[in-house]
Symmetry: C2
Subunit: 331 residues, 2 copies
């Protein structure tokens, strides 16, 4: 069987089309013949289904610049898991932008219309722009060639928690605001702050800045004094976190510190009272929209969130806030 490398396409004839495309979903049919991406040809070589491509055996093709090793590893892994998939090239699949493979549901192939996953291949040392996430599965190939699949999706956040409280006085003390003898709803219902004792509640700077802005907290110097203190101790990160905090509160979600989980916030969607607090659902990390992830940091966040039965959400702060959820996936 004759397979020839023509630029970045491997050309094969009608018999190859019948054998590889029609029955096993490799490549793209073209006028009765077959076009294969080099990574697909490498897989056929690897399996022993063909013997050579342009005279090259598997090792040679893999060592050539025609095939990326990480692409091959992901292609092979998905085939091993029982999927048919197509390299995401212009005219080969719909909307190839930003992904490397289009994966079909098990039992389906390029002849069908359904897509199970849109997969982007990433080496563990490649950085990943946050703005490029949201409609793809990252297949991260680590240095030992293990693959971690991370499903990314844009989402909304929302809940039924009530952010409004009886107005309260507070005193700015270094990195917190203390409310002496606050009305009980501040902590008990709306879950702002943390009790110092029965007679006092401490607010974080971000909580205090939000409440001062809504007019529910009276503090010397007003909202500006609190935000200024926040910037002094946190820099520009403070404003970013305040934007995300406010977006969550405004959406009916209670954000509390995510420090113990290494995140900015953990969130509670439906707080009626602190006494009957449920499990927090999300871990939120606030990032500038232009942020670029190191895959290892992504893996760390997602793994931790999974371990504590929460969903990792990145809040990308640009003109507004975009929410991107990332979860581990086993295809």
């Amino acid at each position: 069987m004759d397979l020839t490398l023509d630029g970045d396409v491997v050309r094969a004839g009608g018999r190859a089309r019948e054998r590889f495309y029609d029955s096993r979903g490799y490549g793209r049919a073209r006028n009765g013949d077959l076009d294969l991406a080099p990574v697909e040809a490498a897989h056929l070589l690897y399996r022993g289904d063909v013997e050579a491509v342009d005279g090259m055996a598997f090792r040679e093709l893999l060592g050539s610049s025609a095939v990326s090793m990480v692409d091959f590893l992901v292609y092979k892994d998905l085939r091993d898991r029982g999927f048919y998939l197509t390299p995401a090239r212009e005219d080969w699949v719909e909307d190839p932008d930003g992904v490397d493979f289009v994966v079909y549901p098990r039992g389906q192939g390029p002849w069908d219309d359904e897509v199970a996953y849109r997969v982007r291949v990433v080496g563990e040392r490649d950085d990943v722009p946050a703005s490029s996430l949201g409609d793809c599965v990252l297949a991260v190939v680590d240095e030992e060639s293990e693959i971690t699949y991370l499903e990314t999706a844009t989402r909304e956040v929302g809940g039924t928690s009530d952010a409004s409280v009886t107005a309260v006085d507070g005193e700015l003390l270094t990195e917190r605001v203390v409310c002496w003898d606050p009305p009980s709803d501040v902590y008990e219902q709306a879950f702002y702050g943390q009790r110092l004792d029965d007679d006092a509640v401490q607010l974080s700077l971000v909580e205090a800045a939000y409440l001062a802005r809504t007019g529910d907290l009276r503090v010397e110097g007003g909202p500006d004094a609190v935000a200024e203190r926040g910037r002094e101790v946190e820099g520009e990160r403070f404003d970013r976190r305040l934007t995300v905090y406010a977006a969550l509160r405004d959406a009916g979600v209670v954000p509390k510190t995510g420090f113990k989980f290494g995140a900015d916030f953990r969130t509670y969607a439906d707080v009626e009272s602190v006494e009957n607090l449920g499990h927090s659902e999300l871990l939120v990390r606030a990032l500038p929209a232009a942020h670029r992830f190191e895959p290892r940091d992504l893996a760390l966040d997602v793994r931790l969130a999974h371990g504590v039965r929460k969903t990792m959400v990145f809040a990308l702060v640009g003109d507004g806030v975009e929410w991107v959820e990332v979860q581990r996936l086993t295809p």
Copy 2:
């Protein structure tokens, strides 16, 4: 009862000494009288045991520059947990360097010789030099005034795994080295690399650089070619990781990638064969000795390690490698 603020010491008389030092371990006895640190005086005010210090009530003292809010929160928390503790001042405790409080075992106090914890108070926004860890408990006060205790200790690492293998040939392919038809001990016994299939093992660059250096891997260009590729894709981090990898292997421990846990390595102390592989014990992050931690990153690593029943170890690379273990502590 008269308490007066004298510089950074609160002076009190003999009755206060009997009541607070002799029976409850506050302060330091001085010629039958009592010296208190302001944080201790604040706690006595908070509890209502004294009414004023130099005319100041609790709120006023806490709002003054004499008492740090985070120190107070940790002092109070440890008292609430049933401990007596002494502010780490020169002449008040032995070896006060690098810590804020010396905490005695429950039931003991400053009259006894035993120390349970040496505690350093850290705000979540303060950075922590890696070199300052090893003989202290960090009490990290987060923005909502919750306290996370992290116990740090220097340690050794060691195991019984054998790093030597039959010499093998390898081919450098972008970010990995592939060994075609390797001797079985490379993967099966010594646990280098990852199977591509029955006939090939892929080594990570750090594994390959180590094996090339020991002479067990023959690769075009030798160890330098592998290390150079490593630096191309990872920068100076590669050499740091190689140093840590080699130190672990030389100590009889098998390091494998820690990518899925967001770390540099996970380690196996006693590998006889991959078939009977036990649980990996440590997660290792390689850092320059001059590294400064953000407490949030520390919390993330330690939390994750705990969740997967491993111990978090930081490998600080300077002239040699120093190993610092960090674990969550509930005092």
